[in-house]
C-alpha cells in the first residue's frame, strides 16, 4: 500500500514535502514522453511532445496532459499491459538494471502517479483508513488510437487497492500517446503550485533537449478570472533529428559483476526471453557470433534457450561466470 501513503511517496522519491510531488509528476510525464520518442523514433526530425498543465478556476485541481507523437502508430506495449503496470504488488519495469543515458528516474512511475491524488486528498486526515474519500477523476491512457481510463479504489484499512480500467468504445482521431492525470491542489501547496513554478520546471525539463519539439501550455484559470493573461507557452522547435545511435547497447564494462548477474536475472518474462536476446543487449554480445555463445552454453541455439531454463541448469553459475568473462575479454580487445 506504499503507493497510497504519504510515507511511501516520501520513501520512494526522497522528497519529503508534498509541494515537490506535483513537480515530480510534471517532470516524470515529460521525461517518459522524451525517452519513448528517443527509443522509438531515432533519426526522426518530427518528434514532438505536446503538453498542457491547467490550474482550475478555484485552484483546487491541476490537470496534466502530456502527449508524444507516434505517427507510425508503433505499438506502445507498456500501456497494453495496464493491469501489470498498475499492479501494486509487483515491480514491472522494462528498464531495470539497464545503464542508458535516459531521463525517467522514478521507479514504478505510473503507479506513483496513480496513487498520488489519493495521498494528497487524504494528507493529514486519519479517517482515510475508513474507505471514505476516493479520487474519482480517472487517469487517462490514450495510445494507438485507443483510450483507456483507470480509477483506483483504495481501502487502506484492508490494505486493498482495486483498479477499474475501462476502454472507450470510440477510437481516437490520433495515434499519439497521451497520459492525462488530474491532481488535487491541497491548501498547504497553493502558494507553490503556480503558473510560474510549473513553467520553470517545464523549461528546465526541456531546455537542453534539442532533438524533440515542444509545445507546452500552462494555464492558471484563477489568474485568468482576475483578468490577467494567466497563460505561459513554451514552444521549442527541434534543432536536429533524434540521433540514430542514441541508446545503443551498453558495454559489459559498465557493469560490476553483481550488476551483470542482476541485469540478466531481473528480466521479468524469463520464460519467453532467450539467453541470447539478453546477451545481445550488451555491446560485445551484439558484436560476437551467436555460435560462440551456443558453444559456451553447450546448446544448438542459444536463442531458443529461455532464461528460466538456463537459470535452472546445474551449471548456471559456472556458465554465468564464463559468459561474463567472455564478454569482458571481447570488451578488452
Amino acid at each position: 500500500m506504499q503507493f497510497f501513503k504519504a510515507d511511501g511517496m516520501k520513501e520512494a522519491t526522497g522528497y519529503g514535502e508534498p509541494k515537490d510531488w506535483y513537480f515530480i509528476i510534471v517532470k516524470e510525464l515529460l521525461d517518459n514522453a522524451i525517452d519513448w520518442l528517443r527509443d522509438n523514433y531515432r533519426g526522426s526530425a518530427d518528434a514532438k511532445v505536446t503538453a498542457s498543465f491547467t490550474i482550475n478556476e478555484d485552484r483546487t485541481q491541476l490537470n496534466c496532459k502530456v502527449r508524444n507523437s507516434n505517427p507510425a502508430n508503433k505499438p506502445v506495449h507498456a500501456f497494453t499491459q495496464l493491469d501489470n503496470i498498475l499492479n501494486y504488488n509487483m515491480t514491472f519495469g522494462s528498464k531495470q538494471n539497464e545503464y542508458r543515458a535516459t531521463r525517467g528516474q522514478l521507479g514504478d512511475g505510473l503507479k506513483r502517479i496513480m496513487g498520488l491524488p489519493f495521498i494528497l486528498m487524504n494528507i493529514g486526515d486519519d479517517t482515510s483508513a475508513f474507505f471514505k474519500k476516493q479520487w474519482d477523476i480517472p487517469m487517462y491512457f490514450r495510445v494507438n488510437g485507443i483510450e483507456r481510463q483507470a480509477i483506483v479504489k483504495v481501502n487502506l484499512g484492508a490494505s486493498e487497492a482495486i483498479n477499474q480500467i475501462a476502454e472507450s468504445p470510440a477510437r481516437l482521431p490520433h495515434t499519439s500517446t497521451e497520459i492525462e492525470v488530474t491532481l488535487p491542489i491541497i491548501n498547504e501547496v497553493k502558494d507553490y503550485v503556480t503558473l510560474a513554478t510549473i513553467e520553470r520546471h517545464c523549461r528546465l525539463s526541456t531546455c537542453v533537449t534539442t532533438d524533440i519539439s515542444f509545445d507546452i501550455e500552462i494555464v492558471d484559470k484563477v489568474l485568468q478570472a482576475k483578468g490577467y493573461r494567466g497563460k505561459a507557452i513554451i514552444s521549442l522547435e527541434a534543432k536536429h533529428p533524434i540521433p540514430k545511435n542514441l541508446h545503443n547497447s551498453t558495454s559489459v564494462l559498465i557493469y560490476r559483476p553483481a550488476e551483470f548477474v542482476s541485469r540478466i536475472e531481473s528480466v521479468y518474462d524469463r520464460e519467453n526471453t532467450s539467453v541470447y536476446q539478453v546477451i545481445r543487449k550488451f555491446e560485445e554480445g551484439a558484436q560476437m557470433s551467436k555460435s560462440v555463445f551456443d558453444k559456451l552454453l553447450q546448446v544448438r541455439d542459444s536463442n531458443k534457450l529461455s532464461l528460466a531454463e538456463f537459470m535452472n541448469r546445474p551449471d548456471y553459475q559456472e556458465k554465468m561466470l564464463a559468459l561474463y568473462n567472455l564478454l569482458m575479454e571481447e570488451a578488452n580487445k
Binding site: T13, G14, R100, Q105, H201, L204, V208, S251, L253, Y255
Partner: protein, 583 residues
C-alpha cells in the same frame, strides 16, 4: 523562466563548453559534461552591481531534479598562474557551486571584488549512461567519476565570462561600495573564440552521431571567418592564418574529433615509402600506416626517401617523406605509430630548420642526423675542400628563430644539447644537406650508418609488424582447388562475353552523364552476375561439390563466407522486395 531583458542577448558574451571523460576502472563508461553561462543583462548589472547573483541549475541527461542537482563530490583544483613558477594554492569545494565560486562566480549577496565574474544563469548537464545516486530524490549522486571533468568545464567557462571590471564596475575592497565607469571596457574577441563559434556546432553534431556532408579547406574557412573578425572586432592580419589553423587543430584535439569528421579537408602532404610502394598519409590512411614497419624514419626529402627506400624495406623499415616540415598528419602518424609499438626516428638536414623540424617530435624520438656524429663518421670536414664541397652557407630568408631561442632550444633538448651532436656556431652560418652526404657516400653506405644508429637506439624490434606469422597458404593448396577457381573465372568470362561486348558498346558513347556506382552495380549484379548465377554447368559443378561435402561430412558449406552480402543473396533479396511492391 526569466523575464524578457533579464539575460544578456549578445551571444558573444555567452560561455559554453562540453568536456568529455571516461572512467578508468570498472565500471568503465564514457560521459560528457556541458556547461553554459549566460550573463544577466549587462546594463541591468551595471545599474545595480550588488543586486544580482549567479544561479545554477543542474541536469542529468537533460532531466531536471525537482530539488536541483549540485553534483556533490570532492572537488580539488589548482588554478593556473600567469606568473611563471608561482604555484597557486589548491582550492576545495563540495559541489559545483563551490567550484564555480572558486572560479570567481558570485552566488549570494556576498561582498564582491572587481575580479568576480558578473552574475550569470548557469546550466550544467551531465550526459552519462551510468549515474550512481546516493539519495532517492536523485538530487544527490556520487559525482566522483565526473568531478575532474566538471572542474575542467568550469575552468573553460570561467575563462570566457566577463568580470565586473570588464563591464566597468570597480568595488572598493571589503565593502559594498562600488564605482561604475561611464563606459564599459570594450571586450575583445579572439581568433580562438571565432574558431569555436564556427566549429563547435559542427563538433557537437558529430558527437551526436550525425554526419557533416559538406567539405571545405582550412583556408576557405579562414575566408569565412573574415566577416566574423570584422563583426566582433578581432585584431587580425594575414599572419594570423597559421594561428587560426592551429586553433582549428587544437579545438578538434580538445573535443576528440578529426578535422575531416567536421568537414575540413587537408591535402596529404606527407607520404610513406614501404616495401617499394608509396602511401599518402591522410586522415583515412593514418591508422593503417602506423602499423607498417618495425621502425619509421621521418626524412624531410622525397628523393632521399626514394634513394634509401629499397635498403630500408629489406629490413622492414618504413620511411616517411615529410616534404620539408612536419605536417599535422605526420605528427599524428608519429604519435600513433609510437603507441602501436614502432620505433620512430627523424633524419633532417644539418641546419636550423632541420633542428626545428626534429624538435616538433617528442624528445624520445631520436634524431639520426645530419649532425656532428655523421660528419665524424664519414670524415666530412666543417669547411669545404677542393674535392669535397658539402658545406653551403645558411642564409635564412625569414629568420625562423632568434639566436637566444635557438640556444635555448638546443640546450633544453637532450637530442641536441651535446656539442658532439650539434655545433651551434657552425649552424649560425652553415648548413649541410642530406643530399650532400648521399652524394658523398652513396645510398647503401648512408643507409648502413643510419641502420647502425637505429640499432644502437633501439636494440630490439617487433617483426610481427612486418612479417605475418600466419601467411596466406593458398598457393600450396592442391592444384585442383586453384584450377577450380580458374575454371570458374574462365567459364564466367566465356558465358558473359556477348553481354560484356554489348555493355562495351553502350558505354563507349553515352549521352550526358551516368551514375557510375549505380551502373557498375547494374552490370555486376544484374546483367553479368545473373548470367553466371543461372549457368547450369557452374551450378552442376557446385551441386556436385555440395553433395560430396554432405556425403563426406566436411561441413564446407557451413563456413560463413564474409560479413558482406554475397551477390546471390543481395540479388535474391532485391527481387523479393520488387515482387512485394508489385503485389
Amino acid at each position: 523562466m526569466y523575464p524578457p531583458g533579464y539575460l544578456e542577448t549578445d551571444s558573444s558574451k555567452i560561455a559554453y563548453t562540453i568536456q568529455y571523460g571516461t572512467t578508468k576502472e570498472i565500471p568503465c563508461f564514457s560521459f560528457a559534461f556541458e556547461l553554459i553561462a549566460v550573463p544577466l543583462d549587462i546594463d541591468m548589472v551595471r545599474k545595480d552591481p550588488m543586486g544580482y547573483a549567479s544561479e545554477f541549475n543542474g541536469l542529468v541527461n537533460g532531466a531536471y531534479s525537482v530539488l536541483g542537482t549540485k553534483f556533490d563530490g570532492s572537488y580539488r583544483w589548482t588554478r593556473k598562474s600567469k606568473r611563471q613558477g608561482y604555484q597557486q594554492p589548491t582550492d576545495y569545494a563540495d559541489d559545483i557551486i563551490g567550484c564555480l565560486q572558486g572560479y570567481s562566480f558570485v552566488f549570494y549577496s556576498q561582498l564582491r571584488s572587481s575580479r568576480n565574474k558578473i552574475p550569470c544563469a548557469i546550466l550544467g548537464n551531465l550526459i552519462s549512461q551510468r549515474v550512481d545516486y546516493t539519495e532517492k530524490s536523485k538530487s544527490k549522486m556520487d559525482a566522483s567519476p565526473f568531478v575532474d571533468t566538471i572542474i575542467k568545464a568550469v575552468e573553460k567557462v570561467a575563462a570566457k565570462v566577463l568580470t565586473f571590471k570588464a563591464i566597468g564596475v570597480s568595488f572598493a575592497s571589503d565593502s559594498d561600495k562600488y564605482k561604475v565607469s561611464s563606459r564599459a571596457r570594450a571586450t575583445r574577441t579572439t581568433v580562438k573564440e571565432i574558431v569555436e563559434m564556427m566549429l563547435l556546432p559542427r563538433i557537437l553534431k558529430v558527437k551526436r552521431g550525425e554526419k557533416i556532408t559538406t567539405e571545405q579547406t582550412q583556408d576557405s574557412l579562414w575566408y569565412n571567418a573574415l566577416p566574423l573578425f570584422e563583426k566582433y572586432w578581432v585584431k587580425y592580419s594575414n599572419d594570423s592564418r597559421p594561428w587560426f589553423k592551429e586553433c582549428i587543430r587544437d579545438l578538434c584535439k580538445e573535443y576528440g574529433v578529426a578535422r575531416e569528421q567536421i568537414g575540413i579537408i587537408a591535402a596529404p602532404w606527407a607520404s610513406m615509402f614501404f616495401n617499394g610502394e608509396w602511401y599518402d598519409i591522410s586522415f583515412d590512411t593514418i591508422e593503417d600506416l602506423a602499423k607498417k614497419g618495425t621502425d619509421i624514419v621521418f626524412i624531410e626529402k622525397r628523393d632521399i626517401v626514394r634513394a634509401l627506400g629499397k635498403y630500408a624495406s629489406k629490413w622492414g623499415v618504413a620511411l616517411v617523406n615529410t616534404h620539408g616540415h612536419l605536417t599535422d598528419y605526420a605528427e599524428d602518424l608519429a604519435e600513433l605509430a609510437d603507441i602501436s609499438g614502432a620505433h620512430i626516428a627523424i633524419f633532417t638536414d644539418y641546419d636550423i630548420p632541420g633542428i626545428l623540424i626534429a624538435s616538433k617530435l617528442k624528445e624520445t624520438v631520436p634524431r639520426l642526423g645530419v649532425d656532428e656524429r655523421i660528419l665524424a663518421h664519414f670524415n666530412i670536414p666543417h669547411e669545404n675542400t677542393r674535392e669535397r664541397r658539402l658545406v653551403i652557407p645558411y642564409n635564412a630568408r625569414v629568420a625562423r628563430l632568434t639566436e637566444w631561442n635557438l640556444r635555448r632550444l638546443i640546450r633544453n633538448d637532450k637530442r641536441f644539447s651535446s656539442e658532439d651532436v650539434v655545433d651551434i656556431e657552425f649552424l649560425k652560418r652553415n648548413k649541410i644537406e642530406i643530399d650532400a652526404i648521399l652524394a658523398d657516400q652513396g645510398a647503401e653506405k648512408l643507409w648502413g650508418y643510419l641502420q647502425d644508429l637505429l640499432k644502437e637506439e633501439f636494440p630490439n624490434r617487433n617483426y610481427l609488424r612486418v612479417i605475418d606469422p600466419a601467411p596466406d597458404l593458398s598457393k600450396h593448396y592442391p592444384p585442383i582447388v586453384q584450377q577450380l577457381r580458374l575454371y570458374y573465372d574462365k567459364r564466367a568470362r566465356e558465358i558473359t562475353e556477348p553481354e560484356s561486348k554489348k555493355i562495351e558498346e553502350e558505354l563507349k558513347d553515352v549521352d550526358g552523364f551516368i551514375d557510375v556506382e549505380q551502373k557498375e552495380k547494374e552490370i555486376l549484379d544484374y546483367r553479368l552476375g545473373k548470367i553466371v548465377l543461372e549457368d547450369q554447368l557452374l551450378k552442376d559443378i557446385a551441386e556436385a561439390f555440395v553433395a560430396l561435402d554432405r556425403k563426406k561430412g566436411y561441413k564446407i558449406s557451413e563456413i560463413e563466407i564474409s560479413k558482406t552480402k554475397t551477390i546471390t543473396a543481395s540479388v535474391a533479396e532485391e527481387e523479393e522486395e520488387g515482387e512485394g511492391s508489385e503485389k
